[in-house]
Subunit: 351 residues, 2 copies
């Protein structure tokens, strides 16, 4: 029936340990990384993809562009502090921003489940429009597919985006350098715990809200301090730990954190403790990690704190020449712990 | 629980006739058009989106770019003549080509169902890599999400793409002009009937193969004849009829076809007759419609026929000032019929 010979495909190690896809392959941790390294990179081989950034930096017709894509499959569609619509717009705006680009244009691809109430679709599309206006980007092209009832979860959204990278800006995971300072723009784990609380029906004393937000304004304010930012990353799936492990590996450096400096809301901290989770692995949707030369660290932190999306910014650690490829954190009681890459994911379908 | 008031959304006419999404909203016919007109355009309002082309034409940093997105949800994943992987690469290559652009860079967003055999994913990703190389484009960025077993169909693929529009090329549906000649690059309905035959388990005397192909080479050969091509369109979902109706509406012109000139393979014609379908509404994945000034028509047709993907090209009709917004065809027995936009779709999940 088919002219394609699936059986001819030779499964590379270590994918062979998983004869079938598991949820963790979409979790942004080690299993996701294995797919990228052993399947996508060999199939699509090119330099832009190999940079393993949140998007690709390209030169087209004389312009330096950023190009990024993300699909959103979060459950539930609406949650405290946002919706799949906000995530879809802000997420791609943020991926472009992490290349230092000014996000300009977005596409929206909808995969809708038959039977979705028109009022829900209407509310989501209006919400996407509002999020795009708030971020200062235009949705210029789109596509809609409908799948049979039961073969979806209301709606899946893909957004792709194009941004313009200013002259003199060269931000990439590979650029982290021993001596650099590691900054984070605010509290960790808010998005993941907001989803967790509604999905599991947990009630905490204080409502935990997703931090979903567009970070292009914050990045513009940071680039105004100096274009010499080495790395930017938004720690979404897999949280701070996965992002820093990826950077450490890409740059061949170590990262040394200090646990006591990690900003975590008390209600998020309490919820994590209750559920046996660690905030450094929990997803964020409106935070960034910045790795900057030490001489710019104080000015950068000041600029971040003056922006609404950076008011809780903190210096959390430094890049070191020791233990390359590893992230280590000093604990409160004077010891150190290895902050490893997680294997799968703590919480499926978080974005 | 949610801070979003869905009930506040006022459903515009004529969406109100459909309180829930039906499969036809993804069919590329009138219902799809209603979503675009009454929901997406008001929410995302901007000129690029309002052009209603297969993608957006944008100016960024001095470069004229094409930007397009499409999600693929076809069932089955593999079919005679191709797979969802080939469609995903070729489809976005073609959408960019229909703006006259040279496709350069693609993104790939995968939504994979838990439990998909790793060998199937491997074969699809390799197939995407091969299709990208065949089309001369690079997959430079991507994203993978995994959804729970039962909430998907193996894999859904989104591709978005960026292309460079050469100077002097201004192709848009609005440019169709009375007197222009309507050309098609080959036979109609092959993709849709190939899917239909495997999905319904029908056996025809000859195997019907999908026509999935990248059309950027053909378009480059056509632009070498003259950059003065008024309209290009690849008649995918909804087929030739829907594409020509959209063009007639966008340009405020009529289209007059001749039934006897429409190229249709005998086996596709026979299958359509058996199933009560009309080839002009059946999806194509490797064909284009070109609308060109009459003085260039013969040279254009010659150039098309010299290209492997245009060897069955034909002149099928003309643009007229009469019956603006309508497509009419002369039948074989001397009468005329109105070729209307279809409401939903003949065949769900065709691409």
């Amino acid at each position: 029936m088919s002219d394609i010979d699936i059986s001819g495909w030779v499964c590379p190690m270590p994918l062979r340990d998983y004869p079938q896809i598991v949820l963790g392959h979409g979790g942004g941790g080690k299993l996701s990384g294995d797919l990228v390294e052993h399947l996508f990179l060999p199939a699509f081989q090119n330099d832009a993809l190999a940079s393993l950034a949140d998007g690709a930096a390209l030169t087209i017709g004389g312009a330096r562009l950023a190009f990024s894509t993300d699909s959103y499959v979060v459950r539930p569609l609406f949650f405290p502090g946002g919706s799949i619509a906000d995530l879809a717009i802000n997420g791609t705006v943020n991926d472009l921003s992490m290349l230092g680009a000014r996000p300009l244009f977005l596409s929206v691809g909808l995969i809708i489940e038959e039977g979705l109430p028109m009022s829900t679709l209407g509310a989501l599309v209006e919400r996407m429009g509002a999020a795009a206006r708030a971020a200062g980007v235009q949705v210029v092209t789109g596509d809609t597919k409908v799948v049979d009832k039961g073969h979806g979860d209301g709606v899946y959204i893909n957004t792709s985006g194009i941004g313009l990278i200013p002259e003199g800006v060269h931000i990439a995971p590979q650029n982290a350098h021993p001596g650099d300072v590691v900054l984070v723009s605010g509290t960790l784990g808010d998005h993941g715990m907001a989803i967790m609380s509604v999905r599991e029906g947990l009630e905490f004393e204080t409502l935990i809200q997703s931090d979903s937000a567009p970070l292009n304004g914050l990045v513009a304010a940071m680039l105004a301090v100096t274009p010499e930012i080495h790395v930017l990353r938004d720690p979404t799936r897999g949280g701070l730990a996965s992002s820093l492990n990826e950077i450490a590996r890409a740059a061949g450096v170590g990262v040394l954190l200090e646990d006591r400096r990690l900003p975590v809301r008390s209600e998020v901290s309490a919820a994590c403790e209750l559920l046996g989770m660690d905030p450094v692995y929990v997803a964020n949707e409106g935070k960034l990690i910045a790795i900057v030369p030490p001489e710019h660290a104080d000015a950068m932190l000041d600029a971040m704190r003056q922006h609404p999306y950076g008011k809780d910014a903190a210096r959390i650690g430094q890049v070191v020449a020791d233990h390359p490829g590893m992230v280590v954190s000093k604990t409160g009681i004077g010891g150190t712990r290895v902050v490893s890459m997680q294997i799968g994911e703590q919480l499926p379908r978080i974005c």
